[in-house]
Amino acid sequence: MTDSKYFTTTKKGEIFELKNELNSDKKEKKKEAVKKVIASMTVGKDVSALFPDVVNCMQTDNLELKKLVYLYLMNYAKSQPDMAIMAVNTFVKDCEDTNPLIRALAVRTMGCIRVDKITEYLCEPLRKCLKDEDPYVRKTAAVCVAKLHDINAQLVEDQGFLDQLRELLSDSNPMVVANAVAALSEISDTSPSPAAQMEMNQQTINKLLAALNECTEWGQIFILDALSNYVPKDDREAQSICERVTPRLAHSNAGVVLSAVKVLMKGMEYVGMESEFVTTLQKKLAPPLVTLLSSEPEVQYVALRNINLIVQKRPDILKHEMKVFFVKYNDPIYVKLEKLDIMIRLATQENIAQVLAELKEYATEVDVDFVRKSVRAIGRCAIKVEQAAERCVSTLLDLIQTKVNYVVQEAIVVIKDIFRKYPNKYESIISTLCENLESLDEPDARASMIWIVGEYAERIDNADELLESFLEGFHDESTQVQLQLLTAIVKLFLKKPTETQELVQQVLSLATQDSDNPDLRDRGYIYWRLLSTDPAAAKEVVLAEKPLISSETDRLEPTLLDELICYIASLASVYHKPPSAFVEGQALVVRKTQLPVRSASGEPGATGATESPVPQQAQPVQQQQSVIPSHDTAMGDLLGDLLSMDLNPPQQQMSMTPAPQQDMGGMDLLGGGLDSLLGGPSPVAGMPASQASMGGGLGDILGLGISSTTYVPPKQVWLPAPKAKGLEVSGTFSIRQNVRYMDLTLKNNAMAPMGDFAIQFNKNSFGLSPASALQVPSPLSPGQTADVTLPLGTNGPVQKMDPLMNLQVAMKNNIDVFYFSCLIPIHLLFTEDGQMDRKVFLATWKDIPDSNEVQKEIANPNQLDPKGISDKLQQSFIFTIAQRNVDGRDMLYQSLKLTNGIWVLAELKIQPRSPTMTLSLKTRALDVIPQVQQAYELIIANM
């Protein structure tokens, strides 16, 4: 008996006939009819009219028939919700069946029927099935929770199914565990609710790792994918996970291997860079990656796309495996193109001869895309490996001699790049290129050729004729060619002004008067004006020296690369695009996939396989910011830089050595004035935030705090006038340009002028002392106020004070000596080198006994996000070492160092949309903790 006959019934009145058959008494006939219905459904015919008749067949002992009816139901229930209710009873009954296969079938199917009323009935049976004695039913029920979540997320949370699902993670059956992991991962991926997030702690991880050894190949993939989202606590844990995942690399299923590679690639980020462990792990990764290349071509393709990422991230892994990427004659084109890409990435001085020989071979193949890419690859080799440039150029010339049109055009495009990279080296070949001028019909090639002619106009005798020939069909060219032609002719004119005046006028008028293209017109006008007003300037602009092009122009941007590394094996890694680019609704969900902070900053230095002298270790976060400035700060920084460069040269000195007071008097006044404007006795809280930040910007512009704008508490009255015979002293502390200052305001409330001011500090806990004499404009007339700044050193005599931060000051003037005391805000003592290396941080954190850890809830009144907090703290020299997201809460790991060398480590737990956060501090010197806590609160609340 064959089933194909069901596909052929296309007569009229078919539906009616089927209806009769479905209601037949004979079981066989019924079954036949249902099969026909399914066949029609498959080919896209609408058989929803038969709904009641099909559902009537549901109650049967015949499992095959039952499955067919279920299949029908899944397809049409949504369009006939009222009728679907008819099926509910059978489902519920089936969920109680003695046969576990039927119980599972019922719960599996019910989850696929997206009708609200049915969903309500699903809850009870599902709850039971999750606790079923049979693992087959449990593993089916686990997936069903994910189905239900897709239909009604709230219901799943309300009914406590998530907890039940989490319990299944400890199930004795590995397949149940795997399906539970898959379901939980999906739910936490799609749900924004924190309750739905997958709790991953050491215990769960251990359970998963145990199940990993025993479950099916697919289950292993689910588990590995879930593991890759876990952020290990320390490098030891990362290492142990890696060790237990490594055996998976020998699995025959490529999916398992790729997912294991993902876990390992991420794991390596958490283990120290230079460690031997990473080196051995990298060695272990190479063979399985190569093995993937002997699987089915489609799998090879996925593997190659991923290898492309891996090679960019860790060039060492496959550096000796160039040969396996040689293209085979019978490889499908998509495999060939990918291999070519990887070959270039792996090309080095040592293997370049082999690579070039291969590329030359490929350039004679038939597939146009492949040949073009091969030619391009030769050009890239030349740019990447300087020693090979000459050989590459001669290979390209050979190819140009073949006169195969697209080969010639492609070759000219890459030769232009070679000229850019190695100026004044290979120009002798220009004449050969010029011979092929007529055959160029692609915009890219034409534009490149025109660029070459313009750039080397002085060496080409008939450059004007050549360019003129292009000019004839100016309006038919593409914009790219038009722009290039315009520039080239202007270059030519600047080089040979006498003969080409007419030509340049012609092109300028073509570009400005006869063109609709605004880009072209604008460029035309600019040239025109430049040429007419200041030819010398025109020369400088148009013929300026060009920056050399980089060898790795096609590398992925480092942050994108890091993101994609987290998505190894997935579609994102195949597309080389983040999931948000092709998955709907992805942007809503906060992803947990992030590499640790330092990898992003460690990368830009290492550009290629050959040259990576920059040790890939943690670099200060500051540097990372300067590489990719964030939008809001970039402007201010730039302005600050510009202004400080042009207007305030002494400013630079000041940061080196405390300059004599007089030189900066004016600026100090300004600074002081600003300070008092912003943070004077008037309540800061009342100041709108925007104004405050603008003030900060102003401060930046004046060069008072380009690199650091630490939090400056408002000035307080330290010495009231009545106590000091009319002298009122108020002050605060600040750091500017890495120099600590005591900012004082002196007011003469007495009747007589004051003079001869001097200041002295008593021994104090941190050895703070005046770094220069107090310079007060004297005499200070009655009623007059003076703002004074006093640079401070930290090498003075030390004595532990009580309270710790107490500073006793003596101030003298022509009247008397006065004593007062003030509290040093501890953040004044944070140093700019307080960023601990990540590894040291981990080690130190572990090293300090837990008893030295103090936790406190601190306020986050503005509910800043982690980025904001981290930026803010950094301005006060509290550095964020790492950041991760655990269960929706952001954890910041931070360090700071006091002037006397005390380190304080901090863990800041930030709950989104919560006015408080938890600060855990760890240090060997417990005394400073209350102050540090206070500093945190002050900085976060006030800036």
């Binding site: 399914i38 576990p100 025959s252 002997s294 040689f326």
Partner: protein, 434 residues
């Protein structure tokens, strides 16, 4: 995860369509047909994104299988699953063809229901599937014990073997099958060479036997310090070989392999692939091809190809075939060869030279004159000369050292098991550029 699976014939007509996820609409079926199947040449990747929907496809004979999704799925998993699906269907009804698929569509739906749940692949092991999904419909009337046996196998730790297997004679067949791949330059320089080997096992053993398998892997032997033993020299003259990488059937305990380098497992019943491996070092290449191509003017070419066998004279290679490509504008070919039969096959643009067998350390030669039609089409890309053969040894030098069987519960011992080992080396892509 996978949102749906479609199977089409070569014309793009849907044979099977199963949707698992709500985000996949009916129009997805048509989108793939229009944009991929009917686009023919333009589609150059097995992954296609059409309107934010991703399609993964493979093509077997002239049947298209496509998985569709809107999520960021694990691409490796999807393709492995598609291949697995093909394997499952083949083991149920043989060749993947339009007729076979139409004839078994109910079965296929049933399978798809079982092995993909909400797009998550479940147990797809054919031996287990066959215990409860049969072509005559699911066994409805089974006893309670049988039911629980089925479910424990589907979900169990040893999902690939059922309990209670009994044989009168416990027998084992081991085949070491190697594909030797070569790319050689016209000058005889090895551009790349590797052996892709498989160890295929047929086991007819009772109960739940525990097996331990050993080969002359350098790593293992070095560890046990036996690599210097001269008595263990294999056919190709090497005591031990360096395996670049190997992968195992899911029955092999990977963590044990990682730590102790021992291959231990409970085998599935019947035929399966125990292991795959890859070697690149010290491969003994069974044949060397020496091409000589000379273009005589624009209308004539002379080709001479010599093949040399390079293995023990006592061994015999079989099924030797040399394929010499000819230009597209070939008008006539004259072939002279001393041994075997050679023929110009115009439809394949190649001269095919066949030899039934050839001993070791021998040499044979073919020469041909190719006449060409004058043509100004683009130049001929000179595809490589390829070769096929079969030799009765493993070109990698791999040797099976032992295969021990323990079955603690039943009363048969390792000695009672009859074991057979066979080595076959075949050509993979064995190409010489000319």
């Amino acid at each position: 995860m996978i949102g749906g699976l479609f199977i089409y014939n070569h014309k793009g007509e849907v044979l099977i369509s199963r949707v698992y996820r709500d985000d996949i609409g009916r129009n997805a079926v048509d989108a793939f047909r229009v944009n991929v199947i009917h686009a023919r040449q333009q589609v150059r990747s097995p992954v296609t994104n059409i309107a934010r929907t991703s399609f993964f496809h493979i093509k077997r004979s002239n049947i298209w299988l496509a998985c569709v999704t809107k999520q960021n799925v694990n691409a490796g998993l999807v393709f492995e699953f598609l291949n697995k699906m093909v394997e499952v269907m083949q083991s149920y009804f043989g060749k993947i063809s339009e007729d076979n698929i139409k004839n078994n569509f109910v079965l296929i739906y049933e399978l798809l229901d079982e092995i993909l749940d909400f797009g998550y692949p479940q147990n797809a092991d054919t031996s287990i599937l066959k215990t409860f999904i049969t072509q005559t419909g699911i066994k409805a009337q089974v006893t309670k014990e049988e039911q629980s046996q089925i479910t424990s196998q589907v979900t169990g730790q040893i999902s690939w073997r059922r309990e209670g297997i009994k044989y009168r004679r416990n027998e084992l067949f081991l085949d070491v099958l190697e594909n030797v791949n070569l790319l050689m330059s016209p000058q005889g320089q090895v551009l790349s060479a590797h052996v892709a080997g498989r160890i295929v096992m047929k086991s007819y053993l009772s109960g739940m036997p525990e097996c331990k398998f050993g080969i002359n892997d350098k790593l293992v032997l070095d560890k046990s310090g036996r690599s210097d033993d001269p008595s263990k020299v294999s056919a190709t003259g090497k005591a031990s070989i360096a395996i670049d990488d190997c992968t195992f059937h899911q029955c092999v305990r990977l963590s044990k392999f990682e730590t102790e380098h021992s291959i231990s497992f409970i085998p599935p019943d019947g035929e399966y692939e125990l292991m795959r491996y890859r070697t690149t070092k010290d491969i003994s290449l069974p044949f060397r091809v020496i091409p000589l191509v000379r273009e005589v003017g624009r209308t004539k070419m002379e080709v001479k190809v010599v093949i040399k066998s390079n293995f023990k004279p006592s061994l015999l290679a079989q099924k030797i075939e040399v394929r010499i490509p000819t230009p597209l504008n070939t008008s006539g070919v004259q072939v002279i060869c001393m041994k075997g039969k050679a023929k110009y096959k115009a439809s394949e643009n190649a001269i095919v030279w066949k030899l039934k067998r050839m001993g070791g350390m021998k040499e044979s030669q073919i020469s041909a004159e190719i006449e060409l039609l004058p043509s100004d089409k683009k130049k001929w890309s000179r595809p490589p000369i390829s070769m096929n053969f079969e030799v009765p040894f493993a070109p990698s030098g791999l040797k099976v050292r032992y295969l021990k069987v323990f079955e603690p519960k039943l009363n048969y011992s390792d000695h009672d098991v009859i074991k057979w080992v066979r080595y076959i080396g075949r050509s993979g892509l064995y190409e010489t550029r000319c």
